[in-house]
Amino acid sequence: MATPAAVPAPLQAGDPDTLRVTLAGHPFCAGLEVAHVQAMAELASEHTFGPGTFLLRRGYAARTLFLLLQGDVSLEIVEPGADAIVLETLHEGETVGWSWLFPPHRWSFDARCLSPVRLVQLDADRLRALMARDPALGRDLAVRVGQLVVQRLQLTRAQLVEIQHHDRP
């Protein structure tokens, strides 16, 4: 499958010291051991994207963990010939996508920038390898992603209840 031009370019190297500070300030990394943040910073790079840019596309390989620093991203699903349905919007301090952690490592939805977006990308292949080499970090990150999944599931349930409630007398 060809990579569409709208998908971000391959990861680039960043300044690990700056990235370490940036990562340490992101809620996803809050409370991580300094050595773990340092190790993650070596896999990270900071990017900016314009409105309309797709960060990820459904069905494509999930090779990146995105940590939003600024801006708004919409999580979407689309059927051919129909308007895209916006499932949720994600904002500063949030994390985009968890398919990078779970096989088959393919994105389930599209994610599109709604505004100028600044984020940190981490190379997921290398991050998974790091997690395998360092079980303490691996467990910590797996729990953090698990918490994200649980939070999103609870919010989605609330969303479903609210949508259904509208039609009740």
Binding site: D83, V86, L87, H91, E162
Partner: protein
């Protein structure tokens, strides 16, 4: 003098007697929500934010409807109604000039005085904006008495957003920190998508020095209250409005009883510590 000779006492303004009012305008908020205005010049109705009226469509029935207009303008009385049952559907179909019956106002209002000197956080879902609108309008009239005023407004979809003019005005003049989110949208909607609960951990207010006004579907209020407690807001400063099964409006008929509470008389506004345990009882 026999009983039959005694003068008949004609009911005037009793708690259970409605007065006729002519509808002056019907404003369509969304596809199934209208705001009905009456101009009670002869009998202005003074009310406090959060109170409700019993609104009577002659020949159809009566429903409890929150007052959504400005309490400082008793010459204009507005009720905002979503069409879900016989009476509310009939109210949605009303035309200007029609006469309806109104009795009230009833119930315990929002505790705006308690919020003075504190941040005021208003969280609404769906048509829940109607009962809190008078509180926001009143707080804005005395803006200097409050800290931050924050409005978190949720709706099912962009087309279900009510009081858009107010939201636009408050957002534009920055008198309130307005955050709007919808449960579902298609591309083209530039705002947030997700439940209103998700906003609670993120918006700036002081949880230890704030009063929360919360109104929406009970499930939404339950989720929101949990999020507020998680942020450190004490249960006694989270206020909800419960409008289940109102019938008489004065605590006589028992229709709206929730445990030891009569919602119409003891409420509809309650603090979360008063009602949280009751809302967990499936049989109630």
């Amino acid at each position: 003098m026999t009983v039959l000779d005694a003068p008949v006492e004609v009911p005037t303004r009793g708690a259970l007697t409605s007065r006729p009012y002519q509808v002056s305008s019907v404003r369509h908020q969304t596809h199934d929500i209208v705001t009905i205005d009456v101009a009670p010049q002869q009998h202005p109705i003074a009310f406090k934010p959060g109170q409700f009226d019993m609104v009577y469509v002659y020949g159809v029935g009566e429903a409890a409807i929150s007052i959504s207009s400005d309490p400082a303008t008793p010459g204009l009385l507005s009720h905002t109604i979503r069409a879900v049952g016989w009476v509310t559907k009939a109210l949605n179909d009303l035309q200007p000039g029609t006469t309806i019956g109104i009795r009230g106002p009833y119930g315990r209002p929002w505790p705006l005085e308690e919020a003075e000197g504190k941040d005021l956080v208003v969280i609404t879902g769906g048509i829940g904006m109607a009962p809190v609108r008078p509180a926001i309008v009143q707080a804005l009239r005395h803006r200097e008495r409050f800290g931050r005023i924050v409005l978190l407004k949720g709706a099912r979809s962009p087309r279900d957003l009510v009081f858009r003019d107010d939201l636009d005005r408050w957002h534009a003049d920055r008198s309130i920190d307005v955050h709007v989110t919808v449960d579902s949208a298609v591309r083209g909607w530039s705002g947030r998508v997700g439940v209103v609960t998700k906003l609670i951990p993120r918006v700036p207010f002081d949880p230890e020095n704030s009063v929360i006004l919360l109104c929406g579907p009970e499930v939404m209020m339950w989720f929101s209250a949990e999020a507020l407690l998680g942020r450190g807001v004490p249960a006694e400063r989270i206020y909800v409005t419960l409008e289940r099964n109102m019938k008489c409006g004065v605590g006589s008929c028992g229709h709206c009883q929730l445990g030891s509470k009569f919602l119409c008389r003891d409420g509809p506004v309650f603090s979360w510590d008063e009602v949280a345990a009751l809302l967990d009882v499936r049989e109630l």
